[in-house]
């Protein structure tokens, strides 16, 4: 039994290849000159350079957080290249001009970059080593007034919007990694949905780290004006290297009155080999501001990759009646470590939040749920429901729960529940006596365990997530 599960869990990483593409890589190291270089290379306006320098100066005074339940050797921030871009980077008029090598890369990854591959019906912004290489369906989106482009383009074409919102949800000095990102971010996606527009298709960003020794620092900014709504997807992969690479992204979401933003992530960064060598350090700050009344922000994440995940997608529920949601599945295997969760800050009246978190640990991995639910004195009638379940597969792994509940308003109602268990012998027995093989039975139980979260994903992602989960855990059940 154990062997079957073992083989179930240990599928090799499929996206571990390196694309041989000429890159423009900045020398390693970080100082004010590096930041000026990045800014100059991207031909940025003065205000953005001072934004970066301000962040850098704050970053220098900060120290790396050590409260999280993960262990790794110190990162040498001077040994990272802070800028890496695929070389022939002329302005691209259409998808046909994209470097064919790049196209093949994304073809291999199954990302529909070609507009002809319209079947998927998803507009994609592709970020290769933190530079946006292509955005599809721009035209079609522009017709309804949606701006969907790389953040560098947005800086040039819509500076007033970027200037207004950049750093408004995650201030430059928010935390160590957010400050680092604010100083050196090279690209990312920008999305603006104007008043009353329901985005006609799902928007998507695809992140790929390619160059060894580079860090990826991208920045995503999504703004939904009054009554607008959008569903945003994010996917990530990286090649297999023995060295650890740093990914420190910042995502900011802003929802005005009656706006609705749904942000889904399927994270499958390279997780290191079975001995825990290599892999991505995924230190990400994601935060949404439900600024307007009746606004809604929903985070869904499937975290399967990365050697270390440190990520807490949060919602600040400022508008009255605003809603925050967090659905997460975190799967760790081998020596992966994940410390992830959410923060729900209730400020407005009658704000509601739901947290569903499922953690699955196998091998020698550790996964932690760390969440904060804070009800401030102004949040009359606030309501929260949290549920976090963990499943352990094997006796070498760990599952941890750190829920912080802080309530300062007696009209609020907060509920939290958590459980930890393994796959029951009786459940497996039941399925096997119905003629279902052990492997399939385990996969079925795990999918059932995660169902509440998968239901939140757009259909294509849900299919992918289910598949991802089944190889991820191939061989670990038994």
């Amino acid at each position: 039994m154990s062997a079957v599960l073992q083989s179930l869990v240990n599928q090799p990483y499929k996206h571990g290849f390196v694309t041989d593409i000429e890159s423009d890589v900045a020398p390693k190291g970080l100082n004010e000159d590096t930041i000026r270089l990045i800014s100059a290379k991207k031909n940025e306006p003065e205000w953005l350079l001072s934004f970066r320098l301000d962040a850098y100066r704050k970053w220098v005074t900060m120290s790396e957080p050590d409260w999280q339940n993960v262990h790794y050797s110190k990162i040498d921030y001077q040994d990272i290249s802070y800028y890496s871009a695929p070389k022939p980077k002329n302005k691209l008029a259409s998808m046909d001009e994209v470097d064919p090598e790049l196209l093949r890369t994304f073809e291999k990854l199954g990302v529909p970059m070609h507009e002809r591959a319209a079947l998927a019906g998803v507009a994609v912004d592709v970020i290769f080593d933190s530079v946006s290489v292509a955005t599809t369906y721009k035209q079609k989106l522009a017709e309804v007034g949606i701006i969907f482009c790389s953040i560098s383009e947005a800086v040039h074409n819509h500076p007033e919007l970027v200037k207004k919102y950049l750093g408004s949800v995650v201030p430059v000095g928010d935390n160590f990694f957010a400050a680092l990102n604010s100083a050196v971010f090279t690209d990312g996606s920008f999305c603006f949905i104007p008043k009353g527009v329901k985005c006609p298709m799902d928007l998507s960003t695809y992140f790929r780290i390619n160059t060894e020794g580079s860090g990826q620092f991208e920045r995503t900014l999504v703004i939904a004006e009054e009554g607008a709504s959008v569903s945003y997807l994010e996917g990530c992969t990286a090649p297999q290297f023995d060295t650890n690479q740093l990914h420190a992204a910042v995502v900011e979401l802003i929802a005005l009155d009656n706006a609705n933003i749904k942000y889904s992530t399927v994270q499958n960064w390279y997780a290191g080999d079975e001995n825990g060598i290599g892999g991505i350090y995924n230190f990400v700050t994601k935060r949404g501001l439900a600024k307007g009344v009746n606004s809604r922000i929903s985070w869904t994440q499937i975290e399967t990759g990365a050697a270390i995940t440190w990520k807490y997608p949060s919602c600040i529920l400022r508008g009255d009646n605003s809603v925050g949601e967090f659905y997460s599945v975190a799967v760790t295997n081998n020596f992966q470590q994940a410390d992830t969760g959410t923060k729900m800050i209730h400020i407005g009246k009658n704000t509601r939040s739901t947290i569903i978190s499922k953690g699955i640990s196998a091998g020698h991995s550790n996964s932690s749920y760390r969440g904060l639910v804070r009800i401030t004195p102004t949040a009359d009638g606030a309501r929260n429901y949290s549920q976090c379940d963990s499943m352990l597969i094997g006796d070498q792994c760990g599952a941890h729960t750190f829920p912080y509940i802080q309530v300062q308003n007696n009209t609020a109602k907060v509920e939290h529940e958590a459980s930890t268990s393994k796959i029951g012998e009786d459940q497996l027995f039941y399925l096997s006596q119905r003629g279902i093989g052990a492997e399939e039975a385990v996969s079925m139980i795990i999918n059932g365990f995660c169902k509440e979260v998968f239901q939140q994903l757009p259909m294509e992602f849900a299919v992918e997530a289910t598949k991802l989960l089944s190889f991820k855990l191939e061989g670990s059940v038994g």
């Binding site: 729960t401 912080y404 509940i405 802080q406 300062q408 609020a412 958590a418 930890t420």
Partner: protein
């Protein structure tokens, strides 16, 4: 009497100065323990809000209270403490400002070795004391345990021999009678194999004055031992109460704890239970009932070291006024502790719109074949329940009082000592009456 010291280091220096070797006992082991504790105090700092364990509890006001260790002075009569005594409880040890008071104490049961004065029992039970005292409540990482050990003086010492069942509960009554003093009560309970005992640890005050109580309790359960531990903290509303309790369980032993926290301006109770034997089991119930400007912090840790153990915990807080309740319950399951079954619930009732609760149930699990669950709720009284009672003719106030009382009674009803249960029921009724 008290001069103000603002810096926490200065505060510790002040305390160190008041420590003197004059209370040295004839036992070298005890002197060594005290000396190493005072050395440890020298290397530690007072915790502040940047320490994760003290994030919600600001104890900086303590540094302004440079209270000297209490001296023996008050001559309390039995009539003074009569109201605290429990009916039908004949085993009673009384400590007034941490000084053992043999006149007020009474031990009816000859089977137990029970004494308040460490020195007198030391001669006959030196080896037992040396092998247990300071072994469960470690002072290297806790400044308050270190201070308590350094200032160790009289202590309640209870040794229950093997195969002995003590039917009468033992009432440990710690009375504060002086103001602006610090006292360091200490208790050690060693229960032998197959023994059974009920312990009531009770902190009371004669008047509503300001003082500091820093207490440490150690309980060791040998194989198949059963200990019921009821802890009632009804200190003065001006007092500061800092408490550590360490419990160690051997194979198949059972520990039941009920902790009721009512008093003190700022109180902190750390309960650490280690299930170091297989098939052992612990049940922990807690009730915090505070109002005004009180702050009550309960930190518990249940450490499942060995397989096949069970633990169940329930903690309830009722918070009124601008009071602030903190609960942090950690359940740790070590890699070899398979077949652990553990549940924990934290339920909090906020009665006013300025009351505040910070709760953090925490699971750290390293074994796979376990069942662990925790839950937490924060809310106010259910309006439908109030409506139901109103529809039966109760006034809104009565309905609210009744529901609040019922919320607390859940914990109080678990107390196995009838007389104490009645006393506490009355206190809870009085408190909820004002709401």
């Amino acid at each position: 009497m008290s001069n103000s010291v603002t810096n926490s280091n200065d505060y510790l220096q002040y305390l160190l100065k008041s420590w003197s070797a004059k209370s040295a006992s004839e036992l070298t082991g005890l002197n060594q323990l005290r000396a190493s504790a005072i050395d440890s105090v020298g290397t530690q700092k007072l915790p502040n809000k940047h320490d994760e364990e003290w994030r919600f509890t600001d104890i900086s006001p303590l540094t302004r209270l440079t209270y000297p260790p209490s001296q023996q002075q008050s001559r309390l009569q039995f009539s003074d403490i009569d109201k605290f005594c429990l009916q039908n409880t004949t085993n009673r040890l009384v400590f007034v400002d941490n000084h053992y008071s043999p006149d007020l104490s009474n031990v009816a049961d000859s089977q137990i070795q029970i004494l308040g004065n460490l020195h007198s029992l030391m001669s006959s039970h030196a080896s037992t004391i040396e092998s247990h005292l300071g072994h469960y409540a470690k002072f290297d990482h806790d400044i308050f345990t270190a201070l308590n050990t350094a200032f160790l003086h009289d202590s309640a010492l209870i040794i229950v021999p093997a195969k002995t069942c003590i039917t009468e509960p033992i009432h440990l009554l710690f009375i504060a009678s002086q103001q602006e003093v610090s006292s360091y009560p200490r208790s050690l309970v060693v229960s032998g194999p197959d023994s059974k005992v009920t312990l009531i640890e009770d902190y009371v005050s004669i008047n509503q004055s300001s003082y500091i109580t820093n207490t440490v309790t150690e309980i060791r359960l040998a194989a198949h031992a059963q200990v019921e531990h009821i802890r009632v903290q009804r200190d003065s509303k001006q007092a500061h109460h800092l408490a550590n309790c360490a419990v160690s369980l051997a194979d198949s032993s059972q520990y039941q704890s009920i902790c009721v926290s009512l008093g003190a301006r700022i109180s902190r109770y750390n309960l650490e239970v280690q299930l170091t034997g297989e098939n052992s089991n612990c049940t922990i119930d807690g009730l915090t009932l505070i109002s005004g400007q009180q702050l009550s912090d309960t930190h518990t840790s249940i450490d499942h070291v060995k397989p096949n153990c069970t633990s169940r915990q329930q903690h309830k807080c009722i918070v009124d006024g601008t009071a602030h309740a903190v609960f942090n319950g950690k359940i740790k399951v070590r890699p070899q502790a398979q077949q652990t079954n553990s549940s924990q619930s934290s339920r909090n009732l906020l009665l006013s719109n300025t009351a505040k609760v910070d709760t953090k149930p925490q699971l750290e699990i390293f074994a796979d074949d376990v069942k662990c669950a925790h839950g937490a709720t924060v809310g106010q009284l259910d309006s439908e329940e109030i409506f139901y009672l109103e529809s039966r003719g109760l006034s809104k106030t009565t309905a609210r009082n009744l529901l609040t009382y019922a919320f607390a009674a859940d914990v109080i009803n678990r107390i196995p000592v009838a007389s104490l249960k009645q006393q506490l029921e009355q206190i809870v009724l009085n408190q909820t009456q004002g709401i």
